[in-house]
């Protein structure tokens, strides 16, 4: 029974990892770019929401703290805007002249720069301490035969899976989606086919910004705690989830996120928190070296030099 309870918590946690992992896998699959701004964008959504609900709008535009739902929505919007800002200064410069190793590190370095900017600006503005987000629901749990299932967590799990499902059908069914996928295949060819790369790449950053922002506010709602560093641990697990699922594979990232969430809660339960680092990263390293395509991916993606 206790184990079933752990599996349920793991599934909920996995739902958060799923969205962040999908954001990572999309940017790698389509642009071959390991986007280090994903953790701070996740954090921006949570911290901004907390700041707004605690202090209210800046410059005295509001009378005290905002309603939690309004705060979360604005947090989501700010995260998406931050992601677009990143696009402006990273991917635009990816088109380097020669396809060799270090020039393609340009977006990587820029995204590390943004990581520092976002995280430290947030620390300066809202401090580096953990903060408690006001809990909107009190004891909204389903209980049956000894199991406790938090309703908001359940709703959030479905919300995250729904978001991914929506995204994947948009990629298949819309013109923009097909354009994005053709960039993943070959940027040069897609330019020839009339896909406007400069118009479509921001769409992708908007999508990943929204996904990370949504993950951030769901995390804030469920775990009631935010800090300037909240994105780092989640992003590390999401990277693991992405690798397990195979780089560039959306449903692989979904499966990977859920696997990592469940394995994490179970191994903490059975072995304690100290060994988790070795097991998660050791498995990750093994997968990368032995089966780099992951459980569901294909080898082509990410092979191009960095």
């Amino acid at each position: 029974m206790l184990i079933t309870q752990q599996v349920i918590s793991g599934l909920m946690l996995g739902g958060i990892y799923v969205m962040v992992a999908v954001a990572f896998t999309l940017t790698i699959g389509m642009l071959n770019f390991l986007n280090f701004t994903i953790p701070p964008i996740f954090m921006i959504a949570g911290m901004t929401s907390w700041g707004l609900s605690y202090y209210g709008l800046p410059f005295g535009l509001s009378d005290g703290g905002l309603h939690w739902a309004v705060a979360l929505l604005i947090g989501l919007a700010v995260a998406a805007a931050a992601s677009l800002l990143v696009e402006r200064f990273t991917y635009r410069y990816l088109k380097a002249k020669y396809g060799d190793a270090t020039e393609h590190a340009i977006p990587l370095v820029s995204s590390l720069g943004f990581l520092l900017i976002f995280e430290n600006t947030m620390i300066i503005v809202l401090g580096s301490d953990s903060q408690a987000f006001p809990v909107p629901f009190h004891d909204a749990n389903l209980r049956f035969s000894g199991l406790i299932i938090s309703i908001p967590q359940l709703v959030c799990l479905f919300l995250s899976l729904g978001a991914v499902w929506l995204l994947s059908s948009l990629l298949k069914g819309t013109r923009t989606g097909r354009g994005l996928r053709s960039i993943a295949e070959n940027p040069d060819v897609s330019t020839l086919l009339g896909v406007n790369v400069h118009r479509i790449v921001p769409v992708m950053f908007l999508i990943t910004g929204l996904l990370c922002g949504l993950a951030g506010i769901i995390f804030t709602l469920n775990y009631h705690e935010v800090s300037a560093y909240m994105g780092n641990e989640v992003a590390a697990k999401a990277i693991a989830a992405m690798v397990i699922g195979g780089l560039g594979n959306i449903w692989g990232a979904v499966a990977g996120g859920i696997i990592v969430g469940v394995v994490e809660t179970l191994s903490i339960h059975f072995f304690g928190a100290d060994t988790i680092k070795i097991s998660v990263w050791g498995i990750l390293l093994m997968v990368l070296l032995i089966k780099p395509q992951g459980l569901f991916g294909h080898t082509r993606i990410g092979k191009g030099k960095f």
């Binding site: 790698i28 071959n32 390991l34 200064f89 990273t90 410069y93 380097a96 002249k97 020669y98 060799d100 190793a101 270090t102 020039e103 393609h104 590190a105 340009i106 977006p107 990587l108 370095v109 820029s110 590390l112 720069g113 943004f114 990581l115 520092l116 900017i117 995280e119 430290n120 600006t121 300066i124 990277i239 690798v243 780089l247 100290d274 060994t275 680092k277 070795i278 990263w281 050791g282 990750l284 390293l285 990368l288 070296l289 780099p292 990410g302 092979k303 191009g304 030099k305 960095f306």
Partner: protein
């Protein structure tokens, strides 16, 4: 010299060696995001030899270099099979595994840190730093250095001209490992205390930034990057330390300024601050065709 600046110079020496340890594989086209792991292996090897086996520094430092090189050599084969993003992730995962193993090793203090009795003076650090600089410049001036840069630009064509691509990559990865081991050992002896929490992803990221911002085309780039990155944060703290009014603002914002600087460098000088063309121009007055190599 005040203790403060002496300390900074000590850090500079370690940073220079560490930067070159990541530069060598990068110059042959391999991005290593696991620098902290290799440095940790060196630091803990030296610390264990020094504390556990009571060896002097003339054994602990070379010992750390050799052991780290050996580990690098062994993992080079599977890791160099990966490419691009996969290699970045694999080296990153390797560093995390190293940290995870050390934190569970009680013989070296586990999570609570480890004392290192022997102290390395600034003089010793600078001997190692200067030695590393000379060595890397020498290496790049040889035909092996030419092979490294050829592999960086185009592995297949390099192989067609008879370059042993795998040999070149494994060698640079291993030599890089040895240098990271030295950097770690010197760090352990400089601070006389190490804890695994220090060797985290941020260290790996920063050292990669030293070389990418400095520029990977010449051996000057990492040197310049390490100097810049060691002094810049300190300079931003100077007003505060001098007790200037509002001096703390600059110190508070220094990481934001730093991040903005990174983004700006990638926009305006995507190949790093020190490029091949810049070095040529400084050396020969000017390059005939100004456009050549500036962006290429």
């Amino acid at each position: 010299m005040s203790g403060y600046w002496g300390g900074i110079l000590g850090i500079l020496c370690i940073n220079i060696i560490f930067a070159y340890s990541i530069f060598l594989p990068a110059a042959s086209g391999q991005l290593n995001l696991g620098g902290a792991g290799f440095m940790a292996i060196g630091a803990y090897t030296a610390a264990f030899l020094n504390t556990g086996l009571e060896m002097p520094m003339w054994i602990t430092i070379p010992g750390a270099a050799l052991f780290t090189a050996a580990i690098s050599f062994v993992i080079a084969f599977p890791i160099l099979r990966t490419r691009g993003v996969y290699m970045v992730l694999a080296t990153f995962a390797f560093a995390e595994v190293v940290a995870g193993i050390i934190i569970n090793m009680d013989v070296v203090g586990g999570a609570s840190g480890y004392e290192v009795p022997s102290y390395a003076e600034l003089g010793l650090l600078s001997v190692f730093a200067i030695g590393t600089i000379v060595f890397v410049f020498y290496l790049l001036a040889t035909r092996f250095g030419l092979s490294m840069r050829a592999v960086h630009d185009d592995e297949n064509v390099a192989a067609l001209f008879g370059v042993k691509v795998r040999f070149t990559q494994v060698m640079t990865f291993t030599i890089g490992g040895a240098l990271a081991g030295i950097a770690g050992a010197l760090y352990a002896h400089q601070y006389n205390y190490i804890e695994i929490q220090y060797f985290n992803i941020l260290i790996s990221i920063f050292v990669l930034l030293y070389i990418l911002i400095g520029g990977t085309q010449t051996a000057w780039g990492p040197l310049f990057g390490a100097i810049l990155f060691t002094f810049l944060p300190e300079f931003l703290r100077l007003p505060e330390m001098a007790g200037m009014a509002n001096g703390g603002v600059l110190a508070e914002w220094r990481f934001v300024i730093f991040g903005t600087f990174l983004v700006a460098v990638m926009v305006f000088r995507p190949e790093g601050l020190i490029t091949r063309a810049l070095v040529d121009r400084l050396r020969h007055g000017h390059v005939p065709d100004d456009a050549a190599g500036e962006t290429g």
